[in-house]
């Protein structure tokens, strides 16, 4: 919402400066977004070029003698419109030039002294014009301030209006709020009612079925008007806000929309029929609107029509055909109360953001209907002449009446501030709320007709504190109670965030960087990774963000490729965030991607990253969550994201804990730069929260007695799960078997197609004594026998 200082003063008697008013607006909740105030330009003054000559050392420059009324200065000027007697705007040494953002300095230009500057419009931030210096056409005295000469003495306010404050979408409403804040006094509306309403309108309302989208409409017919340019005062007002004057009738409706916040519409009466209807549009009915666009309407749109012809979209925009032009002789004025919901719905469907829609959908002041009609009639009659008809109306105009029972304590309890009932009442009265009955404790408040947003007693509290000032609310010192700290300690979500932090630290310390990528999937990713179809976004911004992701791997591959193009060879990144199984189910997981290149450095060699390096990393991550990878059930992954032979899934019961492996080459086809990619997905939310969040204190037996190591080799079936073997061997003697470490795997033709040779080392140590040879031998024998029996394994060597 934009308005000028002088426009505000049409409604508000005030001695406050623009800055003071700006601050008051913000404190009222009418946030000042910008205040264009040129008062500081008074330092620039009118000056005349007395004489000029060519600069001896520069063709394009002139040396001017400039008179600012007190002194004469030498000014070097490059403008092409320099001439003797030109009156321009002059800036002296040391002045700040807003358009170039520099302080002017006296100095030599190509050997000639320059003591100031004649300014262009651009140098004053008035326009982009830099063709030449400003040339004043009126005869101002030298020394007159630029503010006066350029008529810049009317600051422009731009304020943000929240959706509840439709009443401030007119300058008068803003003035009313300011007066309640004590910034000035609200002036009465200055117009005369037309007393001679001599004839009945030849055009009548004949409303059939508008689906209750219009509560009330009132019109007048204006005969023999003379529509041409509007008077200067009106044009200037519109121009000051950047609006283009069109013709008097249109300008008047635009003016009243801004001045009173009351949209109204004028039809050229000779272009419309005699019976005007409000009805729902026919399917696919079309209308060319005043914005020069054609709209296709649907059955929920209310139109103003004469029979089959739609003349306007109710409450939103008029039709081009029935609009008023310079030739308009007879006018039909419409002032209506449209239903905010229907206007909002239609406006949104058609995508039209008009001044009228903006105001109607926020709800209008019911008591302003007749006032708007009278005000418009007065202006049309005064500016365009002619005769005015009697009212023709349809529907019923109910009185706005809303009462709220309010107890003064409610303010104190909500705000934490004692405010005397008398002060509360005064504030409400300043806001033009009526106090009907009151005693020491409570009162009945009658809400003014323009405040349809004030519905309950809490809204009354807000009104009082808004005027009393938020800065007067006393802040208290926050604290935590023992109960609250207890709740935090026991909160599973707090524990989860603690575990996530642990996980992040482990990842970072292993050389993996954290990224955050969008929760979206591209159409392609959705196709390849087969996300649930309920994840489609109806109004996506782009094809790249059309679905909610069911995996992060695609995003991470994209990110890896981006980094590859930036010159990264080895890319290690992770993200902890949501993936979506369907519109009804999401989970937070850790997803990690490693993309490696062959190491060509012959000095600093590192082993090539492979599936087993990945397993080791998975094991480290799981152990940071207080679990041991080997305690889970492991199986090959069937996910098509991964290489079928180099990927695994870990389960705890039926719950998937992790999936990791080499990224499937078919997926890498989409990423031409990437060759060797591995990923881990850790579904940490499936692990019991109390286990993963506690501090890691596993029990490692520390013994002072000698340990012994023994290697065992077996020939197992090829698909034998070695995690099972490991767990089994360890369980054979929990007191003595300290470690079982697998360190060799041999698969070859000579072993047959369905066998593998596996070697592991068992570390044996007692807490109580150094074991004797015979104890050890017994244990070795036990291991050999039991493992070969249990797993049908052949003992090797």
């Amino acid at each position: 919402m934009k308005f000028s200082y002088s426009w505000l003063c049409d409604h508000l008697e005030t001695d406050k400066s623009a800055n003071e008013i700006g601050e008051a607006l913000t404190n009222l909740g009418l946030e000042l977004e910008s205040l264009t105030d040129y008062s500081e330009y008074s330092k620039f003054v009118v000056a005349t070029i007395k004489d000029f000559r060519k600069h001896p050392n520069a063709d394009r420059l002139n040396i001017c003698k400039v008179d600012d009324g007190t002194n004469t200065y030498q000014v070097i000027c490059g403008a092409n419109n320099v001439k003797k007697g030109l009156k321009g705007i002059f800036a002296k040494d040391g002045m700040y030039i807003p358009g170039t953002q520099i302080n002017l300095k006296k100095g030599k230009i190509r050997g000639e002294i320059s003591e100031g500057m004649l300014l262009s419009e651009r140098e004053l931030n008035l326009s982009d014009d830099h063709e030449g210096i400003i040339e004043l056409l009126d005869d101002f005295q030298n020394g007159t301030s630029a503010v006066e000469a350029l008529k810049l003495n009317d600051p422009i306010f731009e304020i943000g209006i929240t959706p509840n404050r439709g009443d401030c979408l007119g300058v008068r409403g803003v003035a009313r709020d300011l007066s309640a804040k004590g910034v000035g006094k609200l002036k009465p509306l200055n117009f005369k009612k037309i007393n001679q309403l001599e004839f009945a309108s030849p055009i009548i309302w004949n409303i059939n079925n508008d689906d209750n989208s219009c509560e009330y409409v009132v019109s007048r017919y204006f005969k023999n008007v003379n529509n041409s340019k509007s008077p200067e005062w009106l044009q200037k007002k519109l121009i000051s806000l950047g609006l283009r004057p069109i013709n008097a009738l249109v300008d008047i409706t635009n003016y009243i929309t801004i001045d009173l916040g009351r949209p109204l519409h004028v039809f050229d009466a000779d272009k419309i029929g005699k019976k005007i209807d409000m009805r729902l549009a026919n399917a696919n009915e079309r209308i060319l609107a005043l914005d020069n666009k054609e709209y296709t309407l649907d059955k929920n749109t209310t139109v103003i029509a004469d029979g089959d012809n739609a003349l306007a979209i109710a409450g939103i925009i008029g039709g081009d055909y029935s609009g008023c032009t310079d030739d308009t002789k007879n006018v039909f004025l419409e002032v209506a109360l449209f239903n905010p919901n229907s206007v909002a719905q239609t406006g949104r469907t058609l995508g039209i953001n008009s001044d009228a829609r903006y105001r109607f959908e926020r709800g209008l002041d019911k008591n302003m209907v007749i006032e708007g009609l009278e005000y418009a009639s007065y202006l049309i009659n005064k500016i365009c002449g002619g005769l005015v008809s009697k009212n023709i109306e349809a529907g019923k105009l109910d009185n706005f009446e809303h009462k709220i029972n309010y107890n003064f304590d409610y303010f104190n309890k909500t705000i934490g501030l004692e405010l005397d009932p008398q002060k509360q009442i005064k504030t409400l009265k300043d806001l033009k709320f009526q106090i009907n009955k009151s005693n020491e404790k409570e009162c009945e408040v009658l809400v003014p007709s323009w405040r349809n947003d004030v519905k309950n007693k809490i809204d009354i509290v807000e009104e009082i504190i808004r005027i009393y000032g938020y800065e007067n609310i006393k802040q208290s010192v926050p604290s935590a109670s023992i109960d609250e700290i207890d709740k935090i300690d026991n909160s599973s979500t707090n524990k989860k965030f603690k575990s996530i932090k642990k996980l992040k630290k482990t990842l970072i310390s292993n050389g993996i960087s954290e990224v955050i990528t969008f929760s979206f999937h591209s159409i392609r990713a959705q196709e390849i990774l087969k996300g649930d179809k309920s994840l489609k976004i109806l109004n996506a911004i782009s094809d790249d963000q059309s679905y909610m992701r069911n995996s992060m791997i695609f995003n991470h591959l994209e990110s890896a490729e981006l980094n590859f193009k930036k010159g990264f060879k080895n890319i290690q990144l992770f993200e902890i965030g949501p993936i979506y199984n369907s519109s009804k189910s999401q989970e937070n997981i850790l997803s990690l991607l490693i993309s490696t290149e062959e190491n060509t450095n012959s000095i600093y060699k590192s082993e090539e990253f492979n599936f087993y390096s990945l397993t080791e990393l998975t094991s480290i991550l799981i152990s940071s969550l207080n679990f041991d990878i080997k305690q889970f059930n492991i199986s090959r992954s069937t996910s098509n994201t991964y290489h079928p032979g180099q990927s695994a899934e870990l389960f705890m019961g039926k719950k998937l804990i992790a999936r990791y492996g080499k990224v499937h080459p078919l997926i890498l086809e989409e990423f031409s730069k990437l060759k060797n990619c591995y990923a881990i997905e850790l579904f940490f939310e499936n692990l019991p929260i109390d286990s993963i969040s506690r501090a890691n204190n596993i029990n490692i037996i520390d013994s002072q007695f000698q340990f012994s190591e023994k290697d065992f080799s077996f020939l197992f079936e090829k698909e034998q799960n070695l995690y099972e073997v490991q767990r089994y061997v360890k369980g054979l003697d929990k007191n003595l078997i300290k470690n079982v470490e697998f360190f060799d795997l041999y698969i070859a033709k000579d072993l047959g197609d369905d066998s593998k040779s596996v070697t592991f080392r068992v570390t044996i140590q007692s807490k109580e004594k150094t074991l004797e040879e015979k104890d050890l031998e017994q244990l070795h024998k036990n291991i050999l026998e039991k493992v070969s029996n249990k797993f049908k394994a052949k003992i090797r060597s």
Partner: protein, 349 residues
Amino acid sequence: MDIKKVLNEVTKEIEQSSSQQELQNVKVAYLGKKGKITELLKSLKDLSLEEKKSSGSKLNLLRIEVDNLIKNKFNDLKIEEINSKLKNEYLDISFPPPNFIASKAHPISKTFDEVITIFGSMGYSVAEGPDIETDFFNFSALNIPENHPAREMQDTFYIDDKDKEGKPYVLRTHTSPVQIRTLLNQKPPVKIIAPGRTYRCDSDSTHSPMFHQVEGLFINENANMGDLKGTLIEFCKQFFNVQNLKVRFRPSYFPFTEPSAEMDIAYEIVNNKIQLGQGDRWLEILGCGMVNPIVLENCNVDTNTYQGFAFGVGLDRITMLKYGLTDIRSFFSGNLNWIASNGFTIGDF
């Protein structure tokens, strides 16, 4: 027998030994089973008791001295040998290591962590809700009815699937639905924060279709607007690490709070950089207010007994302000150069 002679002889041989093997041979020749000194010691048994005594102790001293000499020589030879071996093991210490970029945590992670810690110290526990929400939780329970202009304040993403009420699911436009979820699940007092991802269809240097917010909610019998003010000022002081913080609360509007406020903090430009805390310009930091009794009633909370406040803070925005970052899009680009420049090492996280 001349002990001195033997000593001279053996000392000379020890000194002349140039390897551990040679020295070992000397050791055998004198102290071995058939060594010269051993033989001499053996021959003592033929002597008289008196001679045994005097020669015996001299011979023993000789043996100890020779043994020591050999040990010392062994040590010298060992050091010499290792040193000469080391001479062949010199590497090019100036061969530069491969370039590497430190792995870091995302600045948003750091902010999440700080927010949870700061509000934790004020008694707020963490709550969560889903990103894909129903119309009820995201809008209507929060007093944002359909067709209300407030819906236009937030450009909503819709999902191609309908909830039980037949309305399309939405991507939550704010973290406020967690207020509703929590209040429907838990009786007051309630004191929670809910950090998380939020979505609006908007994209430029300060708007991203996905961003982060933290919601705060405190409901009990008497939490008032003064408490709200104190809580948020304290949060900003701690988060921005500015003790002398100039703030402004000004009236605003959110359908789910009444009265509503926005909080600004003062800033000034010093050396082309934003400096928070003082000055006469204002930056909007967050929205807040007393929870609208309509919202509490939607959650079956008795408004005669309970009241409280709520707030919502844009986490990306406060992160950008704290660290002087200018483009929100870079947060979610996955660019490791950006993470390395703006992220946090494990020590700082």
